[in-house]
């Protein structure tokens, strides 16, 4: 089972919109990109880990998408193509003068190796602080930022942007199998990274009620 992207308008509707833009109704471009504006920023931010650069790259990506819209082939999904453009823009920016100077601390394992999740059976004994939502969010962003890029990319497209495994694979140019492997690793690492700092959240009381979430 794969999750259907939530914010995708119908494929045909989108193709019709693109056709109208290509035949001169250029202002409709705003309507076309509106559902993906946030997604493009988020993937750029995930890669660059800097808000200003991410915003700049997001703008560049939309401009490029507009410029090359004629080359878009409607067999693929517009959103996937747009994300590909954004990922390329962000990676280019990264190469140009914003290389990742620090090696991520969690990038020591190889993809095929097994990962042993830490055993946190004594978490509940760590004194818990009352965490504000903002503080949690900062911890989450920092934890995600500490992962290697290949994990960040997959995790954000799947678990933040709720893209399907197939779309994620296509956007990143990797196999569906690689998406699953990287996603598993990213999720396990994030769980380990966040658990001690988010004590209290991980208890069984905070379990998500079945039926309300896509994985249940």
């Amino acid at each position: 089972m794969t999750l259907a992207p939530r914010s995708d308008p119908g494929h045909e509707q989108e193709a019709a919109l693109i056709g109208r833009i290509q035949s001169g109704e250029r202002e409709l471009f705003y309507e076309l990109i509106q559902p993906y504006e946030r997604r493009v920023f988020v993937i750029a931010f995930t890669i660059l880990r800097n808000e200003a650069d991410a915003e700049d790259v997001a703008q560049d990506a939309f401009l490029k998408a507009f410029k090359y819209l004629a080359q878009f082939r409607s067999e693929s999904r517009f959103s996937t193509w747009l994300i590909q453009v954004a990922i390329n823009e962000a990676r280019q920016r990264q190469r140009k003068g914003h290389p990742e100077i620090m090696r991520p601390i969690t990038d020591q394992e190889n993809e095929d190796g097994t990962y042993t999740p830490r055993d946190f059976t004594d978490w509940r004994e760590i004194p818990s602080e009352a965490l504000e939502r903002k503080e949690i969010r900062e911890k989450l962003v920092a934890a995600l930022g500490s992962l290697a890029q290949k994990y960040r990319e997959v995790f954000v497209l799947r678990d933040v942007e709720h893209m399907s495994i197939e779309d994620t694979a296509q956007a990143l140019g990797i196999s569906a199998g690689a998406v699953k492997t990287r996603l598993l690793r990213a999720r396990l690492m994030l769980r380990d990274l966040l658990s001690p700092g988010l004590d209290g959240i991980w208890t069984p009381n905070s379990r998500i009620p079945k039926g309300t979430k896509p994985w249940s």
Partner: protein
């Protein structure tokens, strides 16, 4: 099927995504039921997904949309703007040319007043005026300076035929209609010039 903790850790991501076959699912659940460590892995992973999946997780920078649309507008609306601008400029040029032609035509065709000493009317009353047969002026009917028989025409028609407004009655008529003397300013200097002659 019996699964170990390692099997669970390898499959847990697919499991929470609902992406495992039924036999494996059952085996995983049997293991999970009695293994606290694997339970905490599963619960932790579900919470990771829950937390990061929240729409408010990543907030856009303040002013993101206006800046984005400002930058896109240059491109998206640029060429269509220039097409519009081209149309506008053609229109404006056309209008200017037309008005120039009209002005020239009007200049050429504005009749000279029948009376050389009169100034042509610059503003006209919206009413019928009286033209005395054989005269050169148009009047408000009943003007003490009209003599003889007259016929009524519109002020416009009178001007077209070269009649000039009577400085006395027409000035009063326009003033009482809320329009003041500027219409007749020229006449004052004209009459002054006449006197000097």
């Amino acid at each position: 099927m019996v699964v170990t903790c390692e099997d669970v850790w390898r499959e847990i991501s697919n499991y929470v995504d609902g992406d495992v076959d039924p036999a494996l699912k059952q085996a995983l659940e049997e293991h999970l039921a009695k293994c606290p460590h694997c339970q905490s892995v599963r619960d932790g992973m579900c919470n990771v997904i829950e937390l990061y999946g929240d729409k408010t997780m990543f907030s856009l920078p303040v002013g993101f949309y206006p800046r984005l649309h400002g930058r896109l507008a240059d491109q998206v609306e640029a060429r269509s703007m220039s097409r519009r601008a081209w149309l506008v400029s053609v229109g404006v040029t056309g209008a200017l040319a037309a008005s120039a032609v009209c002005a020239a035509a009007l200049d050429r065709f504005v009749p000279r007043p029948l009376s050389e000493m009169s100034q042509p009317a610059r503003r006209l009353p919206q009413r019928l005026v009286a033209i005395v047969d054989g005269g050169k002026m148009f009047h408000v009917p009943g003007c003490p300076f009209m003599h003889g028989t007259y016929h009524m025409v519109t002020a416009e028609e009178a001007v077209r035929e070269g009649y000039a407004p009577c400085t006395r009655c027409m000035r009063d008529a326009l003033r009482s209609a809320g329009k003041v003397t500027p219409d007749f300013e020229g006449e004052e200097s004209a009459s002054g010039a006449t006197e000097e002659k």
